[in-house]
């Protein structure tokens, strides 16, 4: 009955009541992990299930399910009778993530040359041109940068690519400071982005794919050169922590 809506109903989003504590706990813990500076700490960061249950006000069950998800997504690592630790990506792992990112986005760019609308390209160009001075607006630049690459991948029209890279980008966040450690990198990045937009506008599949690939693999090389801090903790030798040790 009443298929017709007499007046516009409130657009209330899913608001799934069936969201479940698992998802809630998962999101909360993931956010907490993302917000902490993983590479600033000296030793391994351990998560205590019972402590988290108590803090979040739920039982251990949803916490454990959340941990399972987080482990699948590569945020934590569970050691059988030892504990659950926040993973610290090694330099190699970061480079590998960037490599996969390059692979996906470069093909997405190729696909985009065949299916991107003029409007999409226009908004993409806006993203590429926005950056006034990356060196002074680091946070803003980083945000726009991510949005730019995410937009290219979305323009490829492959949902799976979006999903996979979203996960990769979350891990990238932790090392976004390195992305522009030498300030000319950020400036050169802007040039790269503009070239990519032009290739897309020209519907030049080969150029678009190549430029995206070289741009992102350039970041990989950059991390290869300046990302040694990932493997070497800043202060101590990262002993697996001990409770009451002075």
């Amino acid at each position: 009955m009443q298929d017709v809506t007499p007046f516009p109903r409130l657009k209330v989003e899913p608001l799934d009541v069936n969201v479940g504590l698992r998802r809630l706990a998962c999101d909360a813990i993931k956010r907490a992990i993302m917000e902490m500076d993983i590479y600033g700490h000296t030793g391994e960061i351990r998560l205590d299930e019972r402590q988290l249950s108590q803090d979040l006000g739920v039982s251990r069950t949803p916490i454990r399910e959340a941990m399972t998800v987080l482990e699948q997504e590569g945020f934590v690592r569970s050691v059988p009778r030892r504990g659950i630790y926040v993973v610290r990506k090694t330099k190699r792992e970061v480079i590998e993530m960037i490599t996969v990112w390059a692979a996906i986005e470069s093909l997405a760019a190729r696909l985009a040359t065949a299916r991107a609308s003029a409007a999409e390209l226009q908004s993409l160009r806006a993203l590429a041109e926005f950056k006034d001075d990356p060196a002074t607006h680091i946070t803003e630049y980083s945000q726009t940068n991510m949005t730019f690459h995410r937009a290219i991948i979305a323009m490829g029209g492959c949902e799976l690519m979006t999903g996979l890279t979203d996960n990769l980008f979350i891990h990238m966040r932790a090392i976004r400071a390195v992305t522009m450690s030498q300030d000319n990198r950020a400036t050169r990045s802007v040039v790269d982005h503009l070239n990519i937009v032009e290739a897309l506008e020209a519907r030049d599949a080969d150029a678009a794919e190549r430029l995206v690939r070289e741009h992102t693999l350039g970041l990989a090389r950059h991390v290869e050169k300046h990302g040694d801090f990932l493997d070497d903790p800043p202060n101590k030798s990262a002993q697996p922590a001990a409770r009451g040790v002075a």
Copy 2:
């Protein structure tokens, strides 16, 4: 002490006792799902947690954890108070998986041109040349085919690529029959593979990447044309099943 091993000890592999029932249950259920013909059944296939607990001889807890993993990996879908169903990939999803595969393997091929050893290339060529007559040895061909592509990805030297594509390939298994629905496809595939090997041997990065990409995207187009059966169940309209209905 005794760093030197007086006599060769038995190479007994990890044999992790800490494997945990979760992993066991996960593997068992995954294998069961893989071995069944998902697209042959008419309706949705529901998994009952309590039934599985009973069958596997463990409690529901490890089963649920396994389900969480399997859901993350895209094998099952949990509907809040309804049940857990084996997912049936849509045509679009399959095409997207193949697209991501193409993206990853093409870049892997590019990387391989710079780091593959002569021995690796030789064994790869052996894989490409092995197939006597794909049309008559379908299972054998499919196996060798997978090994071939897996080898290229491994030669890229990126562990993450291996991990991601391994998961994709598992899902591909279910539709491997379509891969060679028209028998000339298998034969043409052999030619493609040989061309890819030659490009790798010539250390021609552009050609290797292009050939791999075109080869795999060709499969995507093939599925686009002949994969409609994925969306249309063979017989009935896939009602979510009912218990005692005659």
